[in-house]
Symmetry: C2
Subunit: 386 residues, 2 copies
Amino acid sequence: MKNFMYHIPTKIHFGRGAISNLPDSIKEYGNKVLLVYGGGSIKKLGIYDEAVKLMNENGIEFIELSGVEPNPRVETADRGAKLCKEHNVEVVLAIGGGSTMDCAKAIAAGANYDGTIWDFVSGKSKIGKVLPIITIVTLAATGSEMDTSAIITKWETNEKAGLTGPNLRPKVSILDPEYTFSVSKYQTAAGTADIISHVLEVYFNNNPGAFLQSKFCEAVLKTCFKYGHIAYKEPKNYEARANLLWSASWAINGLCTKGAPVGWSVHSMEHELSAYYDITHGVGLAILVPHWLRHMLRKENAYKYAEFGINVLGIDSTLDEMDIANKAIDALSKYLKEMDLPSTLTEVGIDETYFDIMAEKAGKGLANAFIPMNKDDVLAILKASL
Amino acid sequence: MKNFMYHIPTKIHFGRGAISNLPDSIKEYGNKVLLVYGGGSIKKLGIYDEAVKLMNENGIEFIELSGVEPNPRVETADRGAKLCKEHNVEVVLAIGGGSTMDCAKAIAAGANYDGTIWDFVSGKSKIGKVLPIITIVTLAATGSEMDTSAIITKWETNEKAGLTGPNLRPKVSILDPEYTFSVSKYQTAAGTADIISHVLEVYFNNNPGAFLQSKFCEAVLKTCFKYGHIAYKEPKNYEARANLLWSASWAINGLCTKGAPVGWSVHSMEHELSAYYDITHGVGLAILVPHWLRHMLRKENAYKYAEFGINVLGIDSTLDEMDIANKAIDALSKYLKEMDLPSTLTEVGIDETYFDIMAEKAGKGLANAFIPMNKDDVLAILKASL
């Protein structure tokens, strides 16, 4: 196990009616809120009304930034940061899924900075003072509600990348599984694929000594494999939605990663797909993950695939390791396909046009992957995914 | 899954040399420390010297309270609280295992209170302002380094009970697996039994919908079953010590319990044993746990035992549920016995003398157990443990 520092101070209010904790949560940090959200779904679902009512009743002032895009644009975040400065905002409140939360986090980082938020992504500037962030989550997927990163997109240069810092971790997150009842089948499937990918990218690492972490990974994976299909078929199944929602938070908040080396290889590749084609993040991951696993598999590391196959997917442990490994990848592909997720890039309209530049960009910094990878590896995975 | 609030802000520095973070950790909260420890082992191991050197080099003043007992006495904690008042202590630093940490937590709660700390246990007074607590852990067992409770003993009335509050959770805990290399075989075994008991008391609950929590329990249990014996046989095995140490923290900090009902039945019973006979906590648990499980088993709940048997202990899943259940309890007993832990109360010098009063006291408040229990149940378990 590697040395590490673990610190996750986010306060979580979980369960039916958890939004009742919103006023006190805000007031701990201020009285002037920027409310960030995407399209109109939170209005249709009544979450917007409920939040507004609670803020009004408690004398909390707020201004709004709506229309946050899936794969949120840096321009939107910059606009939010400008609003914060103009209105002396004290707390940034996101209501939505990963895109909205990430945009809110970027805004919170930019609220005390004079340039564009992209400077924090490009490394031109370091994140300074960050406004307190509160989230109300409407999708089990990115885990943004409990982690330290925000992924934003600069469309003009086809760049999708992250800013990271301990203060980007939300102070409070409100997780009501019922808020995810109306998530579409497509987004439910993509969200589940996102969680699974987060965990697999940690689970497949080169530190067998981080055993507890590996078992935590299996815990989250088993939960996803059990409840993904249930939520897909029965959108109002509380137990399924609750388990997926809580799994999403733990998949990437640090519990699984602290003490273990992490590569984030598939996410690097997917960010390139989204940056050029604006596809749904979880869908890109669902397409890539099986091919990534297949590409890395060799006799020496088949033991890890076998662990996955036996412990998570229940594959017969008496079989040959390589056999279990291949069966595990097949079972994963099948699982994702059964939620009608695309399994090829062709299906989502992606061809080889940008493969070279994508591989060039994603291939950097994959030395920590389960097997060290470079541009050629990425290219091979992309081609196999066509 | 039940509604819950999750908030674990303790900062953990984990790994070899993690003590280097001590000065900064203290200075975040003050400059005047009460250093709390037990016998001389931290001096023999050099941990005391290292901590003192780091404090001296960084201009941190400290006074000492040594001689904290296993099953720490309220009088000792009261003495510590008095020292805090007399010397305007700002931070309480514990170096040791569960007893030392719990005593330090009680002291921190008593430092701003005029009466005895027992008032917080008896309910005569509520915990008010608590001094910041920092711990350096030398034993994988109680999980006090990341939880909200402190268990103390009032010997004159044979009472062992806890005080609890969110501010009793340490601000910072330093976990260096090498600090546990010299833990005796006996204490290693008892500590492992303590962790296993913490998890089993949560794992056996009446909320199958808390699936993720149940899988987290299995993760910690598997880690204990794997590494307990290794640490017992190879005390300087870093991987084993690291995994046990990190497991201890997660067994009881809230991850496994939030969203699931918990009974803490075995701990209630063991506290009675320790309060009358001053035995090692983990040893009492090791004796009781198998009998507690056996007492609760019936056809309707055998499914949970089977889960434990199959998922944690690797018992053949094709067997009959009741068969798996009994095999699982047998395997647990065998596992504990192989670390030379006593398996009967008789072995540790306990007879029926106080069974009636112990059962009377422990039998209260066990309505939330896996099966609701009362005095008669406790009595039956104690008798079976003779």
